[in-house]
C-alpha cells in the first residue's frame, strides 16, 4: 500500500508553525512544575532573610531527606495505581528495630540488616495481600500501618531506644563534600529510582500496570510479581529512611513518622504523579518534595504562626495542583 493512513484520513491539519508552538508548549508543560519551583525559590531567596544561605539550604535538604527517599518508591506505588499508608509506621519500626538489634548484638551492621529485612517483610506482606488476595491497597496498608505501629510500640515498650555505638551516629551526622550523608542517600535514591523508572523493564512495566492492568497482564507482564516488588522495595526504602532517621536522632523512636505517609503522597501528587496510575516522573517528584520542604522552611523562617501554617500548607497544595491541572486541561484540549 502506497498511501499512508494519515494522508488518507487527512489528519495532518497542522502547519509547521503550529507544530513549533506545540513543541514549545510541550516543553513548558513538561517543566512547568520545575519552573514554578525555580520561581518560588528565587522569590523566597530575595524576600526571606536567611533563606538563601548554605546552612539553610542544607537544613532544607536534610528536612526533606526522609520524605524524598520514600517519595521515590511511593512514586512507583502510585504509578502502578496502588497506595501505601504504612510507610510512616515502617519508618518508626525500622528505627526501633535497628536500635534494638544493634544494642543486643553490639553490631550496627547487624542492626541495619535486620531493620532492612523487617522493612522488606512488611513490604512483601503488603504486596502479597494486595496483589494475590486482591484486597484494596488503601485498606491493606491502613491495616499494616496500625499493625506495624503497634509492633514498634511493643518492641520498644513505647520508649525511645538509644543506640550506644558511636558508629551509628556518624551515619546521620557525617558530611561528605559539604553535604550530610542522609542527603546523599536521598540523592542516590532519586538517581537509582529515576533510572529504574525510565530505563528498565521494571519501571516501564510499573507504568503499564498503572495505565491498564488488564492490558499489562494480557501482554504477559508479570503483574503480581511487579506489584509485590514495588511494595517490597518500598518497605526496604522506608526502613532505610527509618534507620537514617534513628541515626540522626541517635535513637529509635516508636512514634516517629506519624503523618509521614500523607506528606509523601502529597509530594508525589504535587509532582504530577497521577493517583489513577500510569503517569509519573522522577523530576516531578523531586520538585514536589522540594516545594513541600521549601514552603515549610520558608514559613518557619518567616515566623508564621503555627496555626496559620495550616492555612498556607493547604493553600500551597491546592495552588500547585491547580496550576498542574490547568496545564493538563490545555494539553487535552
Amino acid at each position: 500500500m502506497t498511501e499512508t493512513n494519515a494522508a488518507a484520513i487527512g489528519a495532518t491539519r497542522e502547519t509547521q508553525a503550529d507544530r513549533r508552538r506545540a513543541l514549545l508548549w510541550h516543553i513548558v508543560d513538561d517543566y512547568s512544575l520545575i519552573l514554578i519551583f525555580i520561581v518560588l525559590f528565587a522569590v523566597l531567596s530575595f524576600t526571606v532573610e536567611y533563606f538563601f544561605s548554605w546552612d539553610n539550604v542544607v537544613g532544607l535538604a536534610l528536612s526533606v531527606s526522609q520524605i524524598g527517599m520514600v517519595a521515590c518508591t511511593m512514586m512507583f506505588c502510585l504509578a502502578s495505581r496502588d497506595f501505601d499508608l504504612s510507610v510512616g509506621s515502617t519508618v518508626a519500626f525500622a528505627g526501633v528495630m535497628c536500635a534494638i538489634v544493634a544494642n543486643a548484638s553490639g553490631s550496627v551492621v547487624l542492626g541495619i540488616a535486620a531493620s532492612l529485612v523487617a522493612g522488606a517483610v512488611i513490604g512483601a506482606i503488603n504486596g502479597v495481600v494486595i496483589a494475590k488476595l486482591k484486597i484494596n491497597a488503601l485498606i491493606t496498608t491502613l491495616a499494616t500501618m496500625e499493625i506495624v505501629r503497634g509492633l514498634a510500640f511493643i518492641t520498644s515498650h513505647g520508649q525511645a531506644v538509644g543506640v550506644t555505638s558511636e558508629a551509628f551516629f556518624t551515619l546521620g551526622a557525617l558530611e561528605l563534600f559539604g553535604l550530610p550523608v542522609p542527603v546523599w542517600v536521598t540523592v542516590a535514591c532519586f538517581v537509582v529510582f529515576g533510572v529504574l523508572l525510565n530505563k528498565t523493564i521494571y519501571g516501564r512495566n510499573t507504568l503499564a500496570i498503572g495505565g491498564n492492568p488488564d492490558a499489562a497482564r494480557l501482554a504477559g507482564v508479570a503483574v503480581d510479581r511487579t506489584r509485590i516488588a514495588i511494595f517490597l522495595i518500598q518497605g526496604v526504602v522506608a526502613a532505610l529512611a527509618g534507620i537514617i532517621l534513628a541515626s540522626r536522632m541517635t535513637s529509635g523512636q516508636p512514634n516517629a513518622g506519624e503523618g509521614f505517609e500523607l506528606n509523601v503522597i502529597s509530594a508525589c501528587v504535587l509532582g504530577g504523579v497521577s493517583l489513577m496510575g500510569g503517569r509519573a516522573s522522577i523530576s516531578g517528584v523531586l520538585v514536589g518534595v522540594l516545594i513541600m520542604g521549601t514552603v515549610q522552611n520558608a514559613m518557619s523562617l518567616m515566623n508564621i504562626d503555627a496555626f496559620y501554617q495550616y492555612l498556607v500548607r493547604g493553600a500551597i497544595l491546592l495552588i500547585a495542583v491547580l496550576v498542574d491541572q490547568l496545564k493538563n486541561r490545555r494539553q487535552s484540549r
Binding site: 493512513n5 484520513i9 533510572v195 491498564n212 504477559g220
Partner: protein, 511 residues
Amino acid sequence: MTMATTAPRLEFRHIGKTFPGVRALGDVGFSVRAGSVHGLLGENGAGKSTMMKILGGEYIPDEGEVAIDGEVMHFRKAADAIAAGVAVIHQELQYVPELSVMENLLLGRLPTRFGLVDRRAALKWTRERLDALGVDLDPRARLKSLSIGQRQMVEIVKAILRDAKILALDEPTSSLSHRETEVLFRLVNDLRAQGKAMIYISHRLDEIFELCDAATIFRDGRKVADFDTLEGVTRDTLVQRMVGRDIGDIFGYKPREQGEVRLAVKGVTGRAVQQPVSFEVRAGEIVGFFGLVGAGRSEIMRVVYGADRRLGGDVTVDGRAVKASHIRDAIRSGLVFCPEDRKEDGIIGVRSVSENINISARRNHLTAGLFVNDRNEARTADTYIERLRIRTPHRKQEIRLLSGGNQQKAVLSRWLAEKDLRVLIVDEPTRGIDVGAKNEIYNVLYELAARGVAVVMISSELPEVLGVADRVITMCRGRITAQFNRGEANEENVLAAALPEGASATPMRNA
C-alpha cells in the same frame, strides 16, 4: 465431519464455561488448521469472546481442553498462552493509554542492554516492522493521542509482532475505517501464507466470506454448525444457522411518511468542529451520516447534543431552541444521543442492566415526585430486555458482564424508554452487533421513525447507510460534502463524496 487433510494446529475439545447464572459455553469443540483463517460466528452473547479468552489463558475452562499440535495445553494465565505461541486481540481493546506506540507494541518484552531498556534498538525494530507491515503509525506517539481506529491498529500489530503461530482476532474491524480494514486484510492474508492458524470473529458476513477458509457457528454457548469450507455456502445459510430463523433482507427497509422539520442544526461550531455545520431532519426521516473515521461526525453530533461545548450556531427541535452545551435540556426537548464508545461513554459497568436502562427515563415515573418507582423500572427493563432480546440472566446483572452487543442494546433501550422521544441520534449503533440484532435495531429505528421520531444514524458501514437511511449525508474533514436521497445514493457517489479530494474515489483493493 470429513477428516481434514492436515492435522489441526489448534483444537478445542468439549469446552465448557459457566459464569454465575450464565452458561457461556457448553461442550463446544472445533479445530483450526495451520495456514487457514477460521471464521467464528454467532449472535451476541453466543460465547465467542469467552472462547477466545480461554484460548488466551484469561479464563480457565470448567470442562474440556485446548490442544495445540495435538498437545493438551493448560493455560493458567495470559503469559502461558503467549509462551505457547498464541496471540489474541481482544474485543475490548487492551492498551496502555499513557505509553507510546512502541512501548505498547513491545509491552512485556522490551529489549534491554546491560539491564537497561534499549530504547534506540526498540525504536528501530518497531519502525522496521511497521514499515514492513505497511502500517503508518508514529512509534513515539502516545496511544491516548490516537484515534480509536489507530489504537485498534496498534492492537492488531501488537499481536502480529508476537510472531505467534496462532492468532485470534475478536472483532478487529469494529472500529476500523475502510482503509485500515484493507490493511488488516492484507496482513491476514500474508499471515495465512506464512502458515499461521487464525481465528477471525466478526459480525460482518462479507468479511467472513472474503477472508475465511472455514467457519464455526455458535449459538447460546453451543456449536450449531461447522463449515470446512465456505465454497458454495450462502449468506442466508449462515444467517439462518446463526439466528435460528430466516431474516431475508437484513435491512428490510420500510418507506414511511415524512413530516415537518423536527431537528434543525444551523451553523453549529465547536472546538473540534471548526467550520459551521447545518442540516435538517424531518419527523419520520432516517438520515444516515457517512464518512471515513475522523470525518468529524461524532464530534458534530456531540456538540448538537450538548456533550461537547457548542461555540456557535443554533439547534432547534420542533422550532424550540435547545440550550447550548446542556445535555439535560436536549433530553427534555426530546433530543437524545447514543455514543459510539460504549465502554467509555455508554454503559455504567458496575450497575445493573435495569439501572442502565432507567437512568434517564426514571424522572418521569417518580412516586410522590421524589421516590424512584422500582416496580415501574423493573417493568420497563423487562420490556426492553424482551423486545430487543437482550441476553442477560436477569435485569439485575451488572451490565459489564454482558456481551458487547447486548450492552449496546441496553444503551439503546435507555432512550427508547424516554416518554417523549423526538430526535434520536445514534453513533455507530450496530458496531459489534450480530446480524439478527442488527435487523432488530433497524426495525426499532423504522418503528420510531414511523412514530414521527427524527433519526440520525452515524455509520461507517456503507451498505448499512445505503440500506437503512432515507437520506445520506456525507462528511469529510469536518464538513458536510454532499447529500443524497434514497435512490440517488450508491456506493460510488457516496464514497467519492466522503473521501478527501485527491484521494482515489474507487474502493481501494490495491494492496
